[in-house]
Symmetry: C2
């Protein structure tokens, strides 16, 4: 991947990269060594030209008449996704959702995403442990940020707390934030916030459920 | 909302509706009774013409020179989102994420989203309770679907199980699915699947973290 190209990658392509990775992983697990862009596109419910277009932004991976080498492409996409580097990660909030995320997640806490700090605002939790990590008082966050380079923050706090904490993170140079709080935060384009909101997803489904029932009654 | 308009609402608008709802709720909680589209757009980091365009698809809500009545608009958007109807909901899988979702979620299990069945494939959990609901064997799903009209299914299963279960749901006429499993499923446009995937969100952040570090080193 050329350095100069970094900025041009669209959000839509970035969104598809983890999906490519997952499908390639499934193929590897199924013992499939090579795949045509046509076959891959059928699996991903997209078009082969979409796949070629996406991948061309990062280099040349397929060969005319051969298709893609599954393991090689998987490996390259892991590299593009930054999985061969370390991204120091902090966790702010120690609620059930975060606990579930940590226990379920096969990447967090491993090589690519070392957890360098866990914080909470709830006094009851401070000093306790979360999956082996001591839970610190959020007041001590500044100190950690001075000493340690933090790349990614995972945040789940109450609506009243979350905004000021995320502002503090941004002031301290953190640009990659996974927000699981029940609020939707938007910042300038150089700050990457992934808002994961289960309530919103449920509301979109209820919109569709409602529309469907209305149609069925016509 | 006109019945005939239902189909024309774009995914982008549907995505923004829950966000409007949340902002209007915050305004109500702050005791604000009316707001101009300009002020609302600043809060939502969007444009006032975007807001007007979105809302115009459902009716006329604002008044020139007055702006929006916050409570009225909130109420209307709740209606558009289907929150004044019942959407029978089933839960398949009883993992930590689903447990966190249920305990955190202030809509699930209430009037709009009554939980009419909880299922799992893991024998250890069957017969136990999840937030007061008895956990049933997934084998009994067919029977429930015969007796009860189900609108929304929330699913978190292992990669090996999830696809066949979702196929079964679709075969039985369920069209609204919230998939929290670590896999990404796509179907025809009349099936609404919300894939919530924390791993993918983390990978997008590591992509940006990696790109940023590369840029900073230039």
């Amino acid at each position: 991947m050329k350095d100069s190209d970094t900025k041009k990658i669209s959000a839509a392509v970035v969104k598809r990269l983890p999906i490519y990775r997952r499908h390639l992983k499934d193929l590897m697990d199924a013992g499939i060594y090579r795949i045509s862009s046509k076959e891959l596109s059928l699996r991903m419910k997209t078009t082969s030209s979409q796949i070629r277009q996406d991948l061309n932004q990062f280099g040349t991976f397929g060969q005319q008449g051969y298709g893609y080498n599954v393991r090689y492409l998987y490996d390259e996409i892991c590299g593009i996704l930054g999985l061969k580097e370390k991204h120091n990660t902090i966790i702010i909030g120690t609620s059930a959702t975060i606990r579930a995320l940590i226990s379920k997640h096969n990447l967090l806490g491993r090589e690519s995403f070392p957890v360098v700090g866990v914080f909470d605002t709830n006094r009851i939790n401070i000093g306790e442990k979360l999956d082996g990590y001591v839970i610190n008082d959020l007041k001590d966050l500044k100190e950690l940020l001075k000493e340690t380079n933090v790349d990614i923050a995972i945040v789940e706090l109450s609506k009243n707390e979350v905004k000021s904490v995320i502002n503090e993170l941004i002031e301290n140079g953190i640009k990659e934030i996974l927000n699981i709080s029940d609020t939707d935060l938007r910042y300038s384009p150089d700050i990457h916030i992934e808002n994961i909101n289960l309530s919103d997803a449920l509301l979109r489904l209820s919109f569709h459920s409602s529309a469907r029932k209305r149609e069925e009654n016509i």
